[in-house]
């Protein structure tokens, strides 16, 4: 099968790759670009571990084809920290122990960052429904929700 040539931007850097038309954006990120931060938990858009943003919109990268990245700007978990400084969400997740095994963490960070950009003052219920597409099997979500609410409060104070 002939491969498709794709030019895209990932975490601010230009990237080019050839992909099979059946390969997903997640396959491309992980297997072609060595960006293994996004995880494949299900491959069917049910777990959210592969969450990335495409032109600012939160998506499951397992449901987006690699070829669809053409001309788009993609952000993954690897693009959340700035230089040496972790994003406040990343700091809070460590402080609150909002992760145990850590496999869902990249997707949850990408998703919550997208939430706070859209809604800087979410209620607990809003956070819970926004994250309903990101499965975590270890924590029972308690510490994740607390970390997100506290980060949101800090960011509001700072702005």
């Amino acid at each position: 099968m002939s491969m498709i040539h794709v030019s895209t931007t990932i975490n601010g850097d230009e990237a080019e790759f050839l992909c099979d038309p059946r390969e997903t954006l997640l396959d491309v990120l992980r297997d072609k670009l060595a960006l293994t931060g996004a995880k494949e938990g299900c491959g069917t858009g049910d777990c959210g571990a592969c969450s990335v943003t495409v032109d600012g919109r939160l998506v499951c990268s397992c449901l987006v084809l690699g070829a669809e990245a053409q001309g788009k700007s993609i952000t993954t978990v690897e693009g959340i920290a700035e230089g040496e400084s972790l994003h406040p969400l990343q700091e809070k997740f460590i402080e609150y122990a909002a992760l145990q095994c850590g496999i869902c963490t990249p997707g949850i960070l990408v998703a919550t960052k997208a939430l706070l950009e859209k809604n800087p003052d979410p209620t607990e219920t809003e956070v819970r429904y926004w994250l309903a597409g990101n499965l975590c099997r270890c924590t029972g979500y308690d510490k994740i929700i607390r970390a997100v609410m506290d980060t949101a409060a800090d960011l509001r104070k700072a702005s």
Binding site: D20, R22, E23, D27, R30, D31, A34, L35, T36, G37, A38, K39, E40, G41, C42, G43, T44, D46, C47, A49, T76, V77, E78, I80, A81, L86, Q90, F93, I94, E95, Y96, A97, L99, Q100, C101, G102, I103, C104, T105, P106, L109, T125, V127, R128, Y129, L131, A132, G133, N134, L135, C136, R137, C138, T139, G140, Y141, D142, K143, I145, R146
Partner: protein
Amino acid sequence: MALDDKKNGEFKVVGTRPNRPDGVDKVTGRARFGADVSAPGMLHAAIVRSPHAHAKILKIDTSRAMASKDVKAVVTRADFAEGLEGDDLNVLENVMAGEKALYDGHAVAAVAATSPLAARDAAKLIDVTYEILPHVTDVDKAMAKDAPVIREGAADKSVPPGLHPNVVRYHESGHGDVEEGFAQADLVIEDSFVTEAAHQGYIEPHACLAQLDADGKGEVWCCTQGHFNVQKICAKLVGTDASQIRVTASEIGGGFGGKTAVFIEPVALALSRKTNRPVKLVMSRAEVFRATGPTASTSMDIKIGMTSDGKITAGQGTFRLQGGAFPGAPMEFTAMCAFAPYNLENVFQVGYDVMSNRPKQAAYRAPGSPMAAFAVESVIDELCSQLGLDPIEVRLMNASKEGTKASYGPRFDRIGLVETLEAAKAHPHYSAPLAEGLGRGVSCGFWFNHGGETAVTLALSEDGTAALSVGTPDIGGSRASMCQMVAEELGIPYEKIRTTVADTATLGYNEVSHGSRVTYASGLAAINASRDAVEKLCGRAAAKWGIDPEAVYWDSGYAKPSGPNAGDFEPLALADITKNMGATGGPIVGHFEATPEGAGVSFATHIVDARVDKETGKTSVERYTVVQDAGKAIHPTYVEGQYQGGAAQGIGWALNEEYIYGEDGRLQNANFLDYRIPVASDLPMIDTVIVEVPNPGHPYGVRGVGETSICPPLAAIANAVSGAAGVRLKQLPMSPPRILEALDVQANG
């Protein structure tokens, strides 16, 4: 190793809540999990799986697949070791089917190709001819006279004569005379319960990268709860020496017992041997559901007698567990845990391990115990309700304590059930007024916990820092608690210690991370390795001072002369001693290798408020409190995390999660959409109370905390549903259709 080594309040680091050492890796996406590594020249593998629940494999034709230039090898059972027996043969049979496919999803062949897509395509080109056999997937049907036989001769000697060949193990225990006990009761309730199989639901599918050379030397990278076990099993299944296979545990994306078993690593090794290239094998989510190890499903009969003031006079239980196509369903734990929270003069329990055409069950957090608690605690709740008694008072009146003869035989050592019940009773949740439409449920839970073979080393560096190597994969933050315990012993800051999960070539054998054993056993080992290093540090100080090593003691990071008689020397800091250790006797390394035997059993009490929507049958959990004995919480935040995670998994098992098999014996819901684990919007905050009744078997009093938290939720929620909806659900999960059916039966008879 007396418990009074450290008196309460003397801890400096233990009991604090530092950031986990692997936190930055985990929040930046850098942490490397099972599927996150590659090797030069690597091939990708896919497994061909049986679409039939039970079938004879007549022929495997690989010619169409091998015709593709992208396909490099196919393996079948013929590519694995011959002559295995017992458990080893069972593992091999499960990893790759022999003469028969025993369940939907059973591996029958595997292919290695140049890309994941090519491998997947090639798997579809392998033609397997089956002769379909009759199948059975239900536990009661699998025991019935006319049930198809999964495997003749699989039963062990425990099984009494006259039972179906699918009954492969039998357990019976108890004491006293239950009939006499029932005669003393004012009320006896007898009922039957059913639980469906649940899956651990770890978000990371099994994944590995393996290389096996023609000379029998191999390397494996994989996500597992126990890489030493992977090493042992792989060596047997591919026919090489254990020491020639080096296994490195990746970061692990959840396990909960499900990654104690081995499924794919031997397959990747066999493909690598055939191609002389590294092979990566990653399961899909559907494969995880169909072909790893969910829990057993159960069918249970419970009979309990109680006096009108709440004393339990006798308890009796029969527990039938279906554990898939191999022996091993944990029915003895179900039986032994069932009545463990209670001090009973008369108790009797029976367990049956039953084979069926389902994947071989694997451990899931306190394997076997949650089902027992569901059945027993439901009946106790019903007795309390009919006798008008407070459920916590009744449990307190009957609670096991130190010296109680346990339902499984011996007398309990120091245990903390009464303390969890008292704390639950005193918690504001228990006395909060119950809003209209809500029900409140309470349940206790019990788990044994485990020690197991453990080896660690603690290497000191010239600059006065320390590197701890452990052999137990860090599944939920254990590196933090290990660093804390070493910091406590050495008297240097937490940040000056790094804990690594070392590969199989670096340490002695370590049992898998199971049985809530890591903070207990690897923790005990880390403490003792630290003490070993401290003894050596004191020896170096003594040599420098020219005094007897006995005259030197260690205090908060310094070697000090033990008193005026020892001499007057300036204390030496750890770094003062290590900076020239090469010239004073060589590297200083602390060791510990042993099988700690003092894990200490664990109890919990949970309180839950739930609402049932009688229109839709949906149950929502509105308030949840976990009270559990941790012995001593090393890192309280991660202890809370274990409590909350266990509760959430229990909520899922209680309300939604189940394996659904069709008439054709195929799994109907092998994905996260249809096998629905709790999502953030399903749950409330989960409050936790850490009770600390020290375990005499650990220097700091630690008890394992990982598993007990999943034992009470099933019954606690069933009891809350009973209060909220006025119907008692005796089958899990209490999904909306089952609740509606129960309401309908109640209304219309």
